[in-house]
Symmetry: C2
Subunit: 146 residues, 2 copies
DNA sequence: TCTCATATTTAGAATTATTCTAAGGTGTTG
DNA sequence: CAACACCTTAGAATAATTCTAAATATGAGA
């Protein structure tokens, strides 16, 4: 009888990789589980790399970058541009927007269905709207009022 | 009788610098004129540096960066984050949003007064909204329909 | 199961935007 | 004009990301 390993197939990483035509390598499976198990996440390459190390998964930073980009091409992730210094990858690929806490560098989702934008001028001749991003930039309040 | 030089005081760069407490150096005056003469502009440090060279103004790239940041602190400029590879500086400091043509890397203003965003959830406890950015990402259409 | 072509990983070098350092030049004020 | 703080700048340093090219793993077929 097989022992119940700590395999957590919640994320169905394996089938996701298959559908995307990506070989289920040890690295991609491990990163996929870190990314897709549990809820929605916003990660940088560096942060995911450290998380992998901490989880005992040996993956190079180059592979983390490769994998994040491949997952993005496969629409398993999307990029969020909020900071010109680092790139965030988002496991939530549905239509949504973001709170960005500039101090902490952390992102929170805003459901796309809850927001409406009116009065947008039409896109210039010869262009198509690829996406509309709303970023609500937040600053921590120094002291909670007493 | 003084010749009519190509000084174009349209931008009132000198008085702007004075108000900001910045010494009107040759470099800051030249960059200020490039930025503020004529209409609203969206520039990268590199692009402004090249423009200065082309205009025969000798300024180092480090000074272009310093100046852009000082102008931003003085609210003569603002930063626009649309691309995680480069920082854009915007001479339009009024409330507005952007079209971003991803192919060309160019920005176009959308008047802030024309847009309304409804349904935004309130900012999390302990945070203040510093700004709301709307970015409409555009892709060029391959062929104009005939 | 073995083989082999192909996909993948990776260390380390390279690239690129931006920032830093520290030394010399400039604007302002008395 | 002197004095000093402010500025500019060349070049080095940083940091995120990409590239290179060599080693390794995967999977289809024998
Ligand atoms: Mn401010
Ligand atoms: Mn960078
Ligand atoms: Zn998100
Ligand atoms: Zn603008």
């Amino acid at each position: 009888m097989k022992p119940v390993t700590q395999d957590r197939p919640y994320s169905q990483t394996l089938s996701r990789l298959r559908e995307a035509g990506l070989r289920p390598t040890r690295q991609r499976l491990a990163l996929g589980r870190l990314l897709f198990d549990g809820g929605d996440r916003h990660v940088t390459a560096e942060a995911l790399h450290e998380e992998a190390q901490a989880a005992g998964v040996s993956v190079s930073l180059a592979t983390v970058y490769n994998t994040l980009h491949q997952f993005t091409e496969a629409h398993l992730l999307r990029e969020v541009v909020v900071d010109s210094a680092r790139t965030y990858f988002d496991t939530n690929v549905s239509d949504h927007h973001h709170f960005f806490l500039e101090n902490a560098g952390s992102l929170m989702d805003i459901d796309g269905g809850k927001i409406a934008i009116t009065g947008l001028p039409q896109a210039p001749e010869g262009t198509d709207v690829a996406r509309v991003d709303v970023i609500v930039r937040l600053h921590g309040t120094p002291r909670p009022a007493e």
